[in-house]
């Protein structure tokens, strides 16, 4: 295999990995702090994509409209996150995980129904905006502009999240709430407010991911499932609730996915599942398991 093929496969995998991370970011944040496995995350990713689609239509007029639509999707889904927290999630904070799974699955069904009511059941697709619909030539290598955009967006979201959690006072407060909510309350920290804020941030990330990855999707009421499985695998491989781990795992899964489609094209996804099984047998706590958030 030529080095150029390897490089292309790596960049392709990096793009897939960053797309996975964009979805996994909110998922790992909410698990890291609230210990909630939010099965509805993919559904809100889908709603984010539809909201952005409502703004851009099938042919976004410019890159800025495309980015603005993603930001609006983030804000709208964040607001839905607040409502979901009030009605559902805050009631799940001290109950068995089984209730969480059932309740968030019910939210998936509600979201799917709402999407059908508002946007219908027909499939739709969105083209990349004008600046991102071509490819960039780097010597003999042609990189799709949209893939490069997804890679940059993934890195940007990771850096923002990592800095927010590990370098800011609010991040340290949230880590304290995650590590010991009981003691945090005894220091006067409004723990319920901190948890609700985390839910809102997590949902905002889901909506933003829906908007940013809009051009890669076929919009349909089952869109939420497309990335959710890979995102869950990234969260588990990374070490549940660890943002850095989820980032590394997303890149790893993306590269494996891309590499396997080159090496064993007639068995799509097989290498990823085999890797996940073998990895968890060898290191069940994940890449950075034990290191919180």
């Amino acid at each position: 295999m030529a080095p150029i093929d390897l490089l292309f496969t790596f960049l392709n995998g990096l793009s897939t990995g960053m797309a996975v991370f964009l979805v996994a970011a909110g998922l790992t944040l909410i698990f890291g702090i609230l210990k909630i496995l939010n099965f509805a995350h993919g559904a809100f990713f889908m709603i984010g994509a539809y909201v952005a689609y409502s703004i851009t239509g099938s042919n976004p007029s410019s890159l800025w409209i495309f980015i603005l639509a993603a930001l609006v999707a983030g804000v709208v889904v964040a607001a839905l996150g607040f409502v979901t927290d009030r009605i559902v999630l805050r009631r799940l904070r001290n109950v068995d995980e089984a209730y969480t799974l059932i309740a968030t699955f019910a939210v998936v069904l509600i979201c799917s129904g709402v999407v059908k009511l508002i946007w219908g059941v027909n499939y739709a697709s969105v083209n990349p905006p004008p600046l991102l619909d071509g490819a960039i030539a780097a010597g003999p290598l042609f990189i799709p502009s949209y893939s490069l955009f997804v890679i940059i967006a993934g890195f940007a979201v990771y850096l923002a999240l990592d800095i927010a959690i590990h370098r800011t006072w609010i991040g340290k407060l949230l880590q304290s709430v995650a590590n010991d909510g009981w003691m945090s309350g005894l220091l006067g920290i409004n723990v319920p407010f901190a948890l609700t804020s985390t839910v809102i941030a997590s949902f905002m990330l889901a909506g933003l991911a829906g908007g940013l990855l809009l051009a890669n999707q076929t919009l349909s009421p089952i869109l939420g499932e497309s990335y959710l499985l890979l995102a869950f695998m990234a969260v588990i491989i990374g070490g549940l609730g660890n943002v850095r781990g989820a980032f590394l795992a997303s890149v790893l899964l993306g590269v494996i996915e891309s590499g396997s489609s080159l090496l064993i094209p007639n068995m799509p996804g097989m290498a990823t599942y085999v890797f996940v099984i073998l990895f968890l047998l060898a290191k069940p706590q994940g890449l950075l398991g034990g290191h919180r958030i």
Binding site: K172, L173, Q175, S176, N179, D180, W182, M183, S184, G185, L186, L187, G188, I189, N190, V191, P192, R292
Partner: protein, 234 residues
């Protein structure tokens, strides 16, 4: 002033406290002494609404706290240092102390963590060390420093001497009395170490199997050998 009236507390179906009543005057220093499992920690957690299901009245400056969440009780001037200290391991000593800034009374400003730490000479060289890298004694000092930084009106210390070396206990007794005096804060202390409790407080309640079996000053308790033998002897 803290007044507890006919407080009962439960963990699940198990009743831990039985009609406990006590009072701590503004600036007063009161000890709760009793054996392991007597209900001291449950009493403190019940006062802070931080765990057990409690029934009864808890009045703080005449206001019934009812179901007020723990963070609001802290912001009303109550502070609890739990027996296991619960220092945050991912932040430094100074940051641990700064975390309590959210517990100040409305309109007041928290104490500067740098100035708080000066009151605990043992902590000065450790101020930039992560909480998870401290010894038990150092963690206890940080826990007390963290509590006073919010300028509480009543500080509740739950078995602060547990696991500490005698020399640290002596230092802690001096520090506790000093900071309470400086901040005009009351003290409610749960202890098994009678020497320490005497150094820090004026009045004492003896608790046994969730019931108050004695209240008075230390001199009266010392005269009552039967109570000491029955409820406090190891």
């Amino acid at each position: 002033m803290l007044t507890v009236e006919n407080l009962t507390a439960f963990y699940g179906e198990s009743q831990i406290l039985h009609d406990v009543s006590l009072a701590v005057d503004n600036g007063g220093r009161v000890a709760i002494v009793g054996r392991n499992g007597a209900g001291k920690s449950t009493l403190f957690k019940s006062i802070m609404n931080a765990g057990p299901r409690a029934v009864g009245k808890i009045l703080w400056n005449g206001v019934d706290l009812g179901s007020t969440p723990s963070y609001k009780r802290v912001r009303a001037g109550l502070a609890l240092v739990p027996e296991d200290r619960r220092i945050f391991g991912h932040v430094t000593v100074l940051e641990n102390i700064a975390m309590s800034q959210y517990g100040v009374l409305a309109g007041e400003t928290p104490l500067d963590p740098e100035s708080v730490i000066q009151r605990f000479p043992m902590l000065v060289p450790l101020k930039d060390r992560l909480g998870g890298q401290l010894s038990g004694g150092q963690q206890q000092m940080v826990a007390v420093a963290r509590a006073i930084a919010a300028r509480p009106r009543l500080m509740m210390l739950d078995e602060p001497t547990e696991g500490l070396a005698p020399i640290i206990i002596e230092q802690l007794a001096k520090d506790v009395v000093t900071v309470c005096n400086e901040n005009e804060a009351g003290l409610l202390l749960s202890e098994q170490n009678l020497w320490f409790a005497k150094q820090c407080t004026d009045r004492v309640y003896v608790i046994d199997t969730g019931r108050i079996v004695f209240e008075g000053d230390w001199a009266t308790l010392d005269e009552n050998a039967d109570i000491k033998q029955r409820y406090l002897a190891v």
